[in-house]
């Protein structure tokens, strides 16, 4: 089992994590605008996460913590 945690306030909505997730479980949350005016990324099906940390590896803003 794996878990990813996103610090939404740090996310700039660049979409890089979305693109690299092998499980395609990250998406842009169009409902929310964070303090900096971005739509943050979020994980929609956490249980599918394999903890590969691809998302965290490519995130330029250190938004993501990965546990396994």
């Amino acid at each position: 089992m794996a878990r990813v945690t996103f610090r939404e306030d740090r996310c700039k909505g660049c979409g890089l994590c979305i693109q690299v997730c092998p499980k395609q479980i990250i998406r842009e949350n169009r409902e929310k605008i964070n303090a900096h005016g971005y739509f943050p990324a979020e994980v929609v099906e956490m249980d599918k996460c394999i903890g590969c940390a691809f998302c965290a590896t490519i995130c330029p803003d250190c938004v993501i913590k990965v546990e396994k």
């Binding site: 794996a2 590896t57 546990e67 396994k68």
Partner: protein, 248 residues
Amino acid sequence: MAVVFDRPHALVDIPMHYCPGCTHGIAHRLVAEALDELGIEGKTVGISSVGCSYNNYFYFNCDMIQAPHGRAPAVATGVKRSLPDNIVFTYQGDGDLAAIGTAEIVHAAARGENITVIFINNTIYGMTSGQMAPTTLLSQVTTTTPYGRDPKEHGFPIRVCEMLATLSGPAYIERVSLHDIKHIKKAKEAVKKAFKVQIAGKGFSLVEMLSTCPTNWGMTPLEALDRIKNEMLEYYPLGVYAGKDLEV
């Protein structure tokens, strides 16, 4: 559950000011991870340059000096000659290192100065809004090559690794890229190796990273990664240019 990925200690826990998707942020993390993993944060002095990363002294947790545009290698030399047992690195953009700072990087390399240079090649001046850099590709449109870079008018892009590799001073030079997971992982190994070379007292080390500037390239962050892959890799081949056989 164990933490398999978290922000490195050497990266201060504050938001960075870079544009969304700019790979400067990845480069920062890689450097910080190297400092963490080699346990050298406490004895490292970093030199920030002038470019979008001018204020990364806020981000790196080690002691930091902000250097004049292009002069980071000279500042680093001053530090390293003063504190030979400390670890000294510079973090420079392509305008900083390959334009105004050409003399300083060439001579730091020729001296074999025992420092590490992190060189961010994004083929543009990010900070000042997208002017041509010495590394701007032919035909690339920038704010100072509005009709595209034309070799007759603007000359040819400089390949820094290849040029510095003709000198006897450098111990280790490698070009890496930040455009996908695989290459980011290779980039990290290169950064670590560069610091190890310095720790071992072998001399000058430089890692050039192909990096994006979505803002001034006028692209989305994803398109920008693709541009590295599709356009930059050809002109800037990845690989080790000095110190291929060096073991550290």
